[in-house]
């Protein structure tokens, strides 16, 4: 909403460096392997996505909810507030912020139904007021900065210059990017360019080389950042192939029990 991304709270307040992020992970997630950490990120992004699908919300709203979830757990652990409750709450708040409000009861029932459907091992013993209360912790943690920018908008703005398959491929790569924390580290246009770059690898020839070169040149982004994002996406795909959702509820419980024991 700010006149441009550089004036937004997202850039001025929430952008972390990769080192800061690594630091956070090494303090919070000491008991987990790198693979497990990635799997947890995939898991909660997926759960939020599933709630969003049930509510039939737009992809950007789902992305906003995922960013809220990540922002909350920068300074808090899963032991402080149950991540399943937080996932439902993030969706609730994101829908309101993006002018697409759903009744809190509806969010609650869709979320509980989705958790039950996903695994019998997920416990969701919360009631509607818990979501409202959880929302206040989320708002406070984010210091009430609510606007989130997404790479999707960059694609939409540039869409006339892109072929339909290139657009679709980039769009789904951007969806995947929310399964990592890169949204906390890189500006949206860097992620958009990286997604487009990767989509070119996947779907060669739809954008002529000259067009592509021009496009990348016009966007004027830092190529090292773009390549870093591409690398992170590729490693996501690798770890993702070993991901098994069925094992996740147990991992979440074990992880929380570990934090509880060590605090």
């Amino acid at each position: 909403m700010a006149a441009n991304y550089w004036e937004s709270s997202q850039f001025q307040r929430f952008l972390l460096t990769r080192y800061e992020l690594a630091e956070i992970e090494s303090t919070h997630m000491i008991q987990l392997t790198n693979h497990e950490i990635t799997h947890l990120k995939i898991y909660f992004a997926d759960l939020i996505l599933k709630i969003g699908k049930r509510l039939r919300t737009r992809q950007e709203i789902i992305a906003t909810a995922i960013v809220y979830f990540k922002r909350f757990y920068i300074n808090n652990t899963f032991y402080d507030i149950d991540p399943y409750l937080m996932a439902a709450t993030c969706m609730y708040l994101a829908c309101k912020v993006e002018e697409n409000p759903h009744h809190i009861k509806h969010i609650w029932s869709e979320s509980s139904a989705m958790f039950t459907e996903t695994s019998p091992d997920i416990r969701f013993p919360y009631d509607i007021p818990d979501i409202a209360e959880c929302e206040s912790y989320l708002l406070e943690e984010m210091k009430f900065y609510l606007v989130v920018y997404h790479p999707y908008q960059v694609l939409i703005d540039e869409s006339i210059k892109l072929s339909k398959p290139a657009l679709q491929a980039s769009w789904s790569i951007i969806n995947d990017s929310y399964r990592t924390d890169m949204t906390l580290v890189y500006p949206p246009h860097v992620i958009a360019v990286a997604a487009l770059f990767l989509s070119r690898v996947v779907d060669q020839g739809n954008l002529s080389d000259i067009e592509a070169q021009q496009w990348f040149a016009d966007l004027n982004v830092d190529i090292t950042d773009v390549l870093q994002v591409v690398t992170e996406l590729l490693s996501l795909y690798k770890v993702w192939s070993e991901y098994d959702e069925a094992k996740m509820p147990e991992l979440v419980s074990r992880y929380i029990a570990d934090i509880a024991a060590s605090s």
């Binding site: 909403m1 700010a2 006149a3 004036e7 937004s8 709270s9 300074n75 808090n76 899963f78 032991y79 402080d80 507030i81 149950d82 991540p83 399943y84 409750l85 609730y92 708040l93 309101k96 912020v97 002018e99 409000p101 009744h103 809190i104 416990r123 013993p125 919360y126 509607i128 007021p129 818990d130 979501i131 409202a132 209360e133 959880c134 929302e135 206040s136 912790y137 989320l138 708002l139 406070e140 943690e141 984010m142 210091k143 009430f144 900065y145 609510l146 606007v147 979440v252 419980s253 074990r254 929380i256 029990a257 509880a260 605090s263």
Partner: protein
């Protein structure tokens, strides 16, 4: 037993809260009570807008969400500054820069004489603030004289973003039930759900006229009558004036009123002022001038030069000095002044219960459960 680590957000929140001291009630809006306060260390005066959350059961309501969301991103000398935000029990508190009066008070104070340069100055500041919002893709959707607040140095600031929302995506319908009636653009009255910054410009045009006339320009008695009022004052639009008019949800035939000569009503106004006003009150929203264009209009370059903000006329009665009963004049103002509970430091929480009681909602008191204790329940159940 493990002692839960306090949630960081909560700590920050308490810290923010303790920076300010609340003094007395300044006014009451549709969804908030505003208090005078100050920053304890710097002594900076602030307005603390406490948003009433009728009940906590559905969290922050849409007006509050819109207001914080907008003010957290906007930053401009002609937009009210949001200094801090904190929640107290079940209330949300916005710490705003303190502004002593508003344009409505100025217009209504008949002891004040407006020079053309004064009106130009207010219009320029208002348009600059609005231009900033529109550049940020934000519609205000409730512009009217009492939402232009005025600082002690005379700067005018857009305030009250409870209806503000982003625009730009044509595919997404928005409600046409927005903007206080007298300032509502004709396309809204005709049920348009795709609109742009031009609805704010119409409202600005009405405010411009009101500054010239010293009374509201288009004061319809009901929504339906509002259109008739507009048509009588500005002439009934034709498909030529406004291509696409007949396709609007309620764009049916209206009684034809001729376009009157405006110069008579606005005698004393210069031609450039009238030209700008007419461009702001153009029927066709697409042809209506934008805030950025309006700022380039010759009106702002021609003499007289706009008055310096500090030298603008000010009402003798400002918010703090006003007493109950002063504004008994009708539905436009819903303010209640009250300084019944003198000093009230936030952290002791007494003031809040008093308010909860007065508002007749015992509700918020039931919700006073200690956040830390409650939070325990929000943790994941330990593995079986």
């Amino acid at each position: 037993m493990d002692v839960p680590q306090a949630i960081l957000g909560e700590e920050i929140n308490k810290e923010t809260e303790s920076l300010y001291k609340k003094e007395k009630k300044l006014g009451e809006g549709t969804y908030a009570v505003v208090y005078l306060g100050h920053h304890i260390k710097t002594k900076r005066k602030v307005g603390i807008k406490k948003i009433k959350l009728g009940n906590m059961r559905s969290g922050l309501d849409m007006s509050a969400i819109r207001e914080v969301k907008a003010l957290r991103e906007l930053r401009h000398p002609n937009v009210i500054e949001l200094i801090d935000v904190f929640s107290h029990k079940t209330n949300l508190n916005l710490v705003l820069e303190f502004l002593d009066t508003d344009l409505e008070n100025v217009i209504k104070d008949k002891s004040l004489v407006f020079m053309p340069a004064d009106i130009k100055s207010w219009m320029m500041m208002a348009l600059r603030g609005l231009d900033h919002c529109h550049r940020c893709w934000l519609l205000h959707r409730d512009l009217k004289p009492n939402n232009f607040l005025i600082a002690s140095d005379g700067q005018l600031k857009l305030a009250d973003f409870g209806l503000a929302r982003e625009f730009g995506d044509v595919k997404r319908a928005m409600t046409s039930q927005t903007v206080t009636r007298w300032y509502r653009a004709p396309e809204l009255l005709l049920g348009a759900t795709n609109y742009t910054g031009s609805i704010d410009i119409w409202a600005m045009g009405c405010v411009f006229a009101e500054l010239l006339l010293r009374v509201p320009y288009l004061s319809g008695e009901s929504d339906l009558e509002q259109l008739t009022t507009i048509f009588k004052a500005r002439g009934t639009p034709t498909e030529d004036d406004w291509p696409g008019l007949s396709k609007l949800p309620m764009g049916f035939k209206f009684e034809k009123h001729p376009r009157p000569a405006f110069a008579e009503l606005f005698h004393g106004a210069s031609d450039d002022a009238l030209d700008l006003m007419n461009r702001m009150l153009t029927y066709n929203p697409v042809a209506r001038i934008t805030a950025a264009e309006a700022l380039q209009h010759p009106y702002f370059r021609n003499s007289p030069r706009p008055t310096q903000p500090a030298k603008l006329p000010r009402p003798k009665q400002e918010y703090v000095a006003e007493e109950e009963g002063l504004d008994s004049d009708g539905a436009r103002r819903k303010r209640h002044y009250n300084d019944a509970f003198g000093d009230d430091v936030f952290s002791d929480g007494k003031g809040d219960s008093a308010v909860a009681h007065r508002e007749g909602s015992g509700h918020s008191r039931d919700q006073d459960a200690q956040p830390t204790a409650k939070r325990m329940d929000l943790r994941i159940s330990s593995p079986a």
